[in-house]
């Protein structure tokens, strides 16, 4: 039988080929075997690592979320600095601070000394491009003795302790810093968990680090998988494949058991940015008409499925001090009535942009389109991937943008956000706002050293900005964390910087 033997040969030839193709997949998953056993936590994170968990990239938050690395300071619930690797600090002058280090060891066994802190901070300052948290400050570190470090800034920096809590300024052991500028946190942090293996952009294995200065972690380890798709993350949690899944999309929230759904007010505010430098919204009356027409609270129960708060200003409930210090907005331009909007726009269409990266924004844009059309505007949407449109946005090619923005950036201080987004020389000034009163108010806040007064001045600046109608806040987002009922001690952090710490464990 010629055919049979030929078929047999073909089958025999194909078998090793198939086995060969399986091999890489299998060896890659070896780490996943036994996940969840012996009280290990399984976590599904949303944003896959872009630079092998380098603290100078997006990945920095992973290091703090999973308690791998620490900075000199950390932030407490209210956003004030608390001791971490530094047990205390004091300000010696306008630009000089002294930090006393605690007795701690890196995961590779070396001691945390003033030298190692200086080394880590020097590397952060020298990194190219500069980590965001150092973008507006020049930092010099000097070792005074084995456990004292002096930090000097070029100009006075009232928020330095807050800055040092940023995961980008995590202190890693000397071994972490390669000659070519790459930084590896694998086994070089000081936190209660140590990364033992990082497999590409899909998985990481963390084990408990027994020498942690703050005591032994309750969980023996963490198995991390990165699942970029929100539905897949929710599925993994529902299917029992993971214990913690961060950022459950609104569309999936209702499918999750109530006991596994945890809402956290987020420092993210979604707003409608109006382009003041040209086009329709150079006219303050039309801006006011748009502001009057847009109702962000309509989005809360629909697009966000109740997982958001109606906007109160630029800063929402996740910024605890904002509500009490809010300043009433006065002196706004009068809104052009709907009947006159048509003639004022002279037949021009309103180009409404938003991006697909956050699933809720395109839906929000469609709701806003209808609200704006009711006010007499003719609206045309442009919805794309963010990187596809960023240069157009900054060049002012749109009249309005539905925008989601983190209001407390790395420093945990709001001035940074206001300065980059709303001052005339701000680099992220999509509204193209050039208003002397706004500039002055933001400058005043930036120069203030006293925390309380700084917050007051920030809220004054907020009122100044809202007066111009260059930005219409819509909602304050809530992050939705999915946590299996048998997990205890997960940190629900509005800044999305912490998730798991020494106390997190399976029941």
């Amino acid at each position: 039988m010629r055919t049979t033997s030929r078929g047999l040969i073909a089958a025999l030839a194909l078998t090793p080929l198939l086995a060969g193709c399986f091999a890489p997949g299998d060896s890659d998953d070896g780490t996943g075997a036994g996940a969840g056993s012996g009280g290990r936590l399984r976590v599904a994170l949303a944003v896959p690592p872009v630079q092998a968990l380098s603290p100078y990239s997006n990945d920095a938050t992973v290091l703090s979320k999973l308690s791998v690395a620490e900075g000199l300071t950390a932030l407490d619930r209210n956003g004030t600095a608390k001791p971490a690797l530094a047990k205390s600090w004091k300000q010696d002058g306008d630009t000089t601070w002294t930090f006393e280090l605690r007795d701690a060891e890196f995961q590779d066994g070396t001691k945390v000394t003033a030298e190692s802190v200086v080394n880590a901070l020097d590397h952060a300052s020298a990194a190219k491009p500069k980590p965001r948290v150092l973008s507006d400050v020049t930092l010099t570190a000097k070792a005074e003795d084995a456990d004292t470090v002096t930090l000097t800034t070029k100009s006075p920096d009232p928020v330095l302790p807050l800055r040092l809590a940023s995961p980008a300024l995590a202190i890693l052991s000397a071994k972490a810093y390669a000659k070519d500028g790459a930084v590896s946190p694998v086994g070089t942090g000081t936190g209660p968990f140590e990364i033992t293996r990082l497999s590409g952009k899909t998985k990481a294995t963390l084990n408990r680090y027994d020498g942690y200065w703050g005591g032994k972690a309750k969980a023996p380890g963490i198995d991390v998988s990165w699942i970029a798709d929100g539905t897949a993350r929710a599925n993994a949690l529902r299917g029992g494949e993971t214990d913690i899944a961060e950022w459950i999309p609104t569309a999936q929230a209702k499918l999750l058991d109530k006991a596994t759904r945890h809402e956290v007010p987020s420092v993210r505010t979604d707003s409608l940015i109006l382009n003041t430098r040209g086009g329709l919204f150079a006219d303050a009356g039309l801006r006011a008409a748009a502001r009057a027409a847009v109702d962000g609270s309509a989005l809360v129960d629909s697009v966000f499925g109740g997982h958001a708060d109606p906007a109160q200003g630029l800063f929402g409930p996740a910024v605890p001090w904002a509500a009490d210090k809010r300043v009433k907005v006065t002196g706004r331009a009068a809104a052009t009535p709907a009947a006159r909007v048509k003639s004022e726009t002279k037949g021009r269409t309103l180009r409404l942009a938003t991006y697909t990266n956050r699933a809720e924004l395109p839906e929000a844009a469609t709701v806003l389109q209808q609200q704006l059309e009711k006010a007499g505007f003719t609206v045309k949407q442009d919805v794309r991937e963010y990187t596809q449109m960023e240069s157009d946005l900054l060049a002012g090619k749109y009249d309005a943008l539905v925008f989601s923005r983190v209001t407390l950036l790395d420093t945990g201080d709001a001035v940074d956000y206001l300065a980059s987004d709303f001052t005339s020389e701000g680099v992220y000034n999509i509204a193209g706002l050039k208003d002397p009163a706004v500039d002055k108010a933001i400058r005043a806040a930036a120069g203030e050293r006293d925390t309380e007064r700084r917050q007051e001045k920030i809220m004054k600046a907020e009122a100044e900005i809202l007066r111009t109608d260059a930005v219409v806040p819509l909602v304050h987002e809530q992050a939705l964390q999915g946590i299996a009922p048998d997990v205890e001690g997960v940190i629900l952090d509005p800044r999305e910087r912490s998730l798991i710490d020494v106390d997190t464990h399976l029941k």
Binding site: T3, C21, F22, A23, P24, G25, D28, D29, G32, V50, Q51, A52, S57, N58, P129, K130, R132, S135, D180, G181, G200, T202, I227, D229, T231, A232, N235, A236, R238, G239, G240, E241, A251, Q252, L255, S302, V303, T356, A359, P362, A365, T366, V367, Q369, Q370, K380, Q381, D382, V383, R384, E385, Y386, T387, Q388, M389, E390, L394, S420, V427, Y428
Partner: protein, 583 residues
């Protein structure tokens, strides 16, 4: 174009040159992407590394210097090419890690997945053809088949199938992991999601080709002599498969780079996602290496398939003694007319009822309402009436998809007639994901309504070119062409009376089976700003924008998916009816 067969060995160099040129052109275009699109790679790379980083001129300069962007595309391409022979494809612009291991891992994952999908494809295609094979090998094939089942399965959107499978088999029943890539058990669901529509497509084509083989004289003789049905079936398959094999390239092998949506849903670290992320971040070393891998894969699969075809057809093809396959006259079943009429009526009702309603009226109080008298198909997440959206989207969707399919099929037909020159481009293009073409087009034209159609046309012709080339090769080797030539037939006569009639019907069927895929691919380019912008209703967009709600409110995807299925069944059965009348 040489019409008559030659006994001399065909020249190999035009094919090789075609492959080399096509591959080089594609790689050149990819390497020049940032300079074509005018989007600053420093900006996209910075954004990919650190989402909240302020794009200050100083930071952008730092990135630019780090990557050496001022040197221009040629220097970069040359540098990358120099490293390749030593297995060094440079380092990723975003992560700074070596590219080769990343691409190799992703490629092996995607290849494994593709093999799984191939197994499912074979299974589904086999099941679809089982009836024809069974009856045909026993000479009981009387009635024609519409291929309705094939049309229904081929119209199922892969991403929808994937999310249904992940939810039902992964979450509800817990049979398989709902996501991840942890060994053979996590291959099952994605393979099914990818393989079922592909299998339906190929099975539908094969099912239509088989009756001709069963009606050839050899089959009659074999039956009369009393050879077992298995023998006849095997030989009939051997006779028809070679015409089908080239379809594997754009249907199955293309899944290596073109399964992005399914890779996302199942969280599979495959080549499609890697290439897409690299393309969006303009991470050229990764993108170029991934493209090169796809080009090499396409070409080697093409060569392999060609060798397999020639092995199956063997000597008759070389000697020009291949009898032509011609469909026997089969009676068209009466039920077919009813199916066609019902589909046409359903679509007509949908369009008329839909057009009377407002597709854009957002009502946030009426979101995700189940079907009722007021909203016969329910409402979507923004409270818009789904019937209205389907009805208003019907003409635009069907019109654009038909136009794109027609242009692609025609291009494919013309290129397929020059098989040696077009073999290279066909192989290169067939594994190229439409998203990549879209990105190149978006780079050149900027966001535009016609961009999506252009991008799909650019890559969409390859299945038809491959099919045309394969069918023509077989047709030219048949006796009646030689007879015509010896009777003094001119080229035009040959093309018009012999070649086109043999090629066009299978081509049309292929095109109609691919119609729903075209609708979905068109919509998948929306995030690049190509195609109609929201909130314009369009079927592909309806499916993708409602997909997250599929489990919470199944009607939001059932309506559009059913509409797509009805359209596909109507197209396929309608074409069978037309053929019945023509015959």
């Amino acid at each position: 174009m040489s019409v008559a067969h030659t006994s001399a060995r065909p020249l190999l160099w035009p094919t090789a040159a075609g492959r080399l040129l096509a591959g080089a052109a594609l790689l050149g275009a990819v390497a020049a992407l940032p300079w074509l699109s005018g989007a600053d790679p420093a900006r996209t790379v910075l954004r990919a590394r650190s989402a909240d980083q302020n794009p200050t001129p100083a930071e952008l300069d730092a990135v630019r210097r780090q990557l050496g962007l001022d040197e221009g595309p040629l220097t970069h391409l040359a540098h990358w090419l120099r490293g390749l022979p030593g297995g060094d494809a440079g380092v990723s612009w975003v992560s700074g890690e070596p590219v080769m291991p990343q691409v190799a891992t992703a490629l092996s994952v995607s290849l494994t997945l593709m093999l799984g999908a191939f197994a499912v494809t074979v299974l589904v295609a086999g099941l679809l053809c089982a009836r024809t094979v069974f009856l045909g090998s026993r000479r009981r094939l009387r009635r024609d088949r519409a291929g309705g089942t094939a049309a229904v399965l081929a119209a199922l959107p892969k991403f929808l199938l994937a999310s249904v499978l992940a939810t039902v088999c992964g979450v509800w029943w817990g049979w398989f992991p709902s996501s991840g890539w942890e060994g053979p058990q996590s291959m099952v669901l994605p393979s099914l999601a990818l393989g079922i529509p592909s299998g339906a497509m190929l099975g539908g084509l094969l099912d239509q080709a088989l009756p001709a083989a069963f009606h050839e004289p050899w089959a009659r003789t074999a039956y009369a002599v009393g050879l077992p049905p298995g023998h006849i079936a095997r030989n009939a398959l051997r006779r028809t498969l070679p015409g089908m094999l080239p379809q594997l390239l754009p249907t199955v092998v293309a899944l290596v780079g073109g399964a992005v949506a399914v890779e996302k849903i199942f969280n599979i670290p495959g080549l499609g996602r890697l290439a897409l992320d690299a393309a969006v971040a303009q991470d050229l070393p990764v993108l170029q290496t991934a493209t090169l891998a796809l080009v090499l894969l396409g070409v080697s699969a093409g060569v392999l398939i060609r060798a397999l075809r020639h092995a199956l057809l063997g000597r008759p093809l070389r000697d020009g003694a291949l009898p032509a396959l011609h469909r026997p006259p089969l009676t068209v079943p009466r039920s077919l007319r009813w199916i066609t009429a019902a589909c046409a009526l359903a679509l007509l009702a949908l369009v008329t009822a839909g057009l009377l309603r407002d597709p854009l009226q957002v009502d946030t109080a009426a979101r995700l309402l189940p079907p009722s008298l007021e909203h016969p198909l329910g409402t979507d997440a923004l409270g818009r009436d789904l019937l209205a959206r389907l009805g208003h989207g019907a003409l635009r969707t069907a019109g654009v998809a038909l136009a794109v399919t027609a242009v692609s099929a025609l291009t494919g037909l013309l290129l397929g007639m020059a098989p040696r020159a077009s073999a290279g481009p066909t192989e290169v293009v067939s594994t190229l994901p439409a998203v990549l073409a879209g990105l190149l087009i978006a780079g050149v034209t900027g966001p535009s309504v016609w961009g999506a159609a252009c991008a799909v046309c650019v890559v969409g012709w390859s299945p038809y070119a491959a099919q045309t080339a394969a069918l023509l090769e077989q047709e030219r080797a048949s006796g009646h062409i030689a007879a015509s030539v010896s009777l003094g037939a001119g080229r035009l006569h040959l093309v018009r009376r012999h070649l086109l009639p043999a090629v066009v019907p299978p081509l049309v069927r292929n095109a109609l089976l691919r119609l729903p895929t075209t609708v979905l691919v068109l919509a998948s380019l929306g995030f690049l700003g190509l195609g109609e912008q929201p909130p314009t209703p369009e079927w592909g967009r309806l499916l993708s924008e409602n997909q997250p709600y599929a489990e919470l409110a199944p009607w939001v995807v059932l309506g559009p998916a059913a509409a797509l299925v009805v359209l596909s069944v109507l197209a396929v059965t309608g074409s069978v009816q037309g053929r019945g009348k023509g015959a």
